[in-house]
Symmetry: C2
DNA sequence: CAAAGATACTTGACTAGTCAAATAATAACC
DNA sequence: GGTTATTATTTGACTAGTCAAGTATCTTTG
């Protein structure tokens, strides 16, 4: 009834030339799986998802004491960068590292914490301009050092060349995905 | 009032030797930012988050027609791999690519869709053993080809050596993070 | 064997992500 | 100058992630 594909006991040679007897990869150990990956592409995507997840979790520790989340921090950073002019709601979404359709509600929470100020634009009343508040600036200032330190710490196991190469590979993936059937 | 750090107009030389006049990186273009990154470590973490986000979004397209999410798909894969023995709830969580504290409710939804079957273990009534159903197996079977194709397609812009190197770099990050103050 | 501790979940109360539909204001066109 | 289209944002209804606090059910230990 159960097909042997996926089963830990499978001993079929894999398309990528691995066999079940080959030493398991780091990722396979982590997710307790003996079946070899179907392709390097599969291994790469899974490794990317897992690494990003662990890194996000580690990085969140820096913010959690301040009572804000990673996404809320990103909004504050963007608004600090925008300066006194502020930014309209959807322009903030455009600049987020991770796409954020729920930007309105995210900012709602920052307004509730009085870290962000919002106001309708008189010239164009469709738009809502957002600004970082004084206490928002103070909170960010207190986080600058911990955040910078964390970025270097979590990448500390790679030397500068490796970091550069990683960035190049990731850039290449994103550029390649843009071409892929924009649908 | 506004510090010039973070402002798009900043012209300070960056710690990594870049200057504001240097050509913007791919990532900087994407998030519309002129200020150079504070370090390679910062650029690498942001590139990793952004790439994983875009990749997750692209990959979700494969599942959305079937009415399941990426995480639900992962649970089904794990249960198919477990075979007729099934797996207890928390063992599934251990094997997920991304950590999933809400595993109970995730499986609730799969049970509601009749893709998973759950039952208390008689020997140890604390445990709940989970199994994939026949229709779960059928659904997975119909997704095998699209999923495998997607994994290769989204990594198609990298050659085998590049994929291997990417996996190595990501493995190195995760191994390094394990050491980092287990706290 | 009873009390204390450890396991394996489960639930509650949030924050977020996702997609579709609604609103509201401005722009473009005839 | 009154539609029609477009833009900017909001809302609703889910799914999911997060953390803390339960609730059974074993297991261990005095």
């Amino acid at each position: 009834m159960m097909v042997d594909r996926d089963t830990p006991a499978s001993s079929h040679p894999a398309p990528n030339g691995n066999t079940a007897s080959r030493k398991r990869s780091v990722l396979q150990e982590e997710i307790q799986q003996n079946r070899p990956f179907k392709s390097k592409g599969q291994e790469a995507t899974l490794a990317l998802f897992r690494t990003a997840d662990i890194l996000r979790r580690k990085t969140s520790e820096v913010f959690s004491d301040s009572g804000i989340t990673h996404q809320q921090y990103n909004v504050l950073r963007i608004l600090r960068g925008a300066g006194d002019d502020g930014l309209p709601t959807l322009s903030i979404a455009d600049r987020m590292i991770e796409q954020t359709p729920g930007i309105t509600r995210l900012i709602d929470r920052l307004v509730a914490k009085e870290l962000v100020i919002r106001e309708r634009v008189p010239n164009d009343r469709r738009r809502v301009q957002c600004f970082i508040s004084e206490s928002g600036l103070e909170l960010l200032a207190s986080l600058d050092e911990p955040v910078d330190g964390n970025d270097d710490r979590v990448m500390g196991m790679l030397n500068e060349d490796e970091k550069t190469h990683l960035v190049e590979l990731l850039d290449k993936i994103r550029l390649g995905l843009r071409e892929l059937e924009p649908k």
